[in-house]
């Protein structure tokens, strides 16, 4: 069994991990979540038993690290007035308003949305990250879209 040098994982996947974390983490905590995900992956790497689907393995860790930022935030009182969620002058390409709605979706739905639209993963590959079937991934995405449309229309 041959695991590639960890640097190769970093070079091949750091953009995907960063984008997934930026999409899913609490606002302003994407970079921190990505950093934590990489440290966890580096720590666990030698104990992997095979090198199949390393990208899926990394994205699973990244999605969990992003979810943890919401749990940590929920546990600590945040002075909302002093800490605006949308940084002033944020680039329009981030579409913060929409992504605030995405982050309010049930966890598996928002992960499915990010995998499908931000990383452009086919449902077969997204399903492996989600630990489910391609059909279920497709359903998660369509349920999420339905929920988002309701919110956007409001």
């Amino acid at each position: 069994m041959m695991l590639p040098p960890f640097q190769q994982l970093v070079d091949d996947h750091w953009r995907d991990v960063a984008r997934l974390c930026a999409a899913l983490a609490a606002p302003g905590e994407g970079e921190d979540a990505a950093q934590r995900a990489w440290l966890q992956a580096l720590d666990a790497y030698p104990s992997l038993r095979h090198a199949r689907n390393l990208r899926g393995w990394l994205l699973t860790i990244a999605a969990r690290a992003a979810a943890d930022t919401h749990r940590r935030r929920a546990r600590r009182p945040t002075p909302v007035a002093a800490l605006p969620d949308v940084p002033a002058g944020a680039p329009a390409a981030r579409d913060d308003e929409l992504w605030t709605l995405v982050r309010a979706l049930p966890e598996r739905q928002r992960v499915a949305v990010a995998l499908h639209y931000v990383l452009d993963l086919p449902h077969a590959e997204a399903a492996r990250v989600l630990g489910t079937t391609p059909a279920a991934s497709r359903r998660l995405v369509s349920d999420a879209l339905a929920g988002l449309r309701r919110e956007v229309r409001r």
Binding site: M2, P5, Q7, V10, W38, Y117, V118, R149
Partner: protein, 189 residues
């Protein structure tokens, strides 16, 4: 409604690569007068100084030592400083630690013997073989030196054929010639 999907696809956050700590094996590449060398270090010392391509060296390190192989130029700064000084002719003896983990036991014995050949001096394959008590193993000594994982720093270039011809070198004969000529220059010139 497709508008929603295209908005989701258009998400372009600013991203930055992760900053990772030094791990089991660190590597970098450096340009020298004998070409580009790939350097790698473990906690025990310099484990590779190689003429091979970076990707090939990294894969070998992952297979032989640990998959936690990361690019880390900073960790190899002391090695680069000594190599620079060596190529400038101001350093005649490397002080950095060497880790022969990539060499098999016989090769390790050969490389340890070769490490004792002084700067500016040369020896022959047969002499090295005799020195390690294996007088008939000159050919195997050549093989071990050709596979030297820590070139330049473990000076396999100081071993030449008994008739004085250069014989062979992992970095090619011009590199071997350059290293031997460098070591013939008077100190500090």
């Amino acid at each position: 409604m497709n508008d929603l999907e295209s908005r989701l696809r258009g998400f372009e956050p600013p991203v930055a690569p992760p900053v990772l700590p030094d791990s089991d094996v660190s590597f970098t590449s450096t340009d020298t007068p004998v070409g580009r060398l790939v350097l790698a270090a473990t906690e025990a010392g310099l484990v590779a100084c190689s003429y091979r391509p970076e990707e090939e060296v990294a894969e070998r390190l992952a297979r032989a030592l640990s998959p936690r192989v990361l690019r880390s130029p900073r960790r190899l700064d002391p090695v680069r400083r000594e190599l620079d000084a060596y190529f400038a002719g101001t350093l005649r003896r490397f002080t950095i630690g060497v880790d022969l983990a990539l060499a098999r036991p016989f090769a390790r014995q050969v490389l340890q013997a070769v490490a004792a050949v002084p700067y500016g001096d040369t020896t022959s394959y047969g002499q090295v073989a005799r020195g390690i008590g294996r007088p008939r193993a000159a050919r195997a000594v050549g093989g071990a030196l050709n596979a030297n994982p820590v070139c330049v720093v473990v000076p396999c270039h100081r071993v030449v054929a008994s008739d004085g011809s250069l014989h062979g070198y992992a970095g090619g004969l011009p590199a071997k010639r350059l290293l031997l000529a460098l070591e013939q220059r008077p100190a500090g010139s």
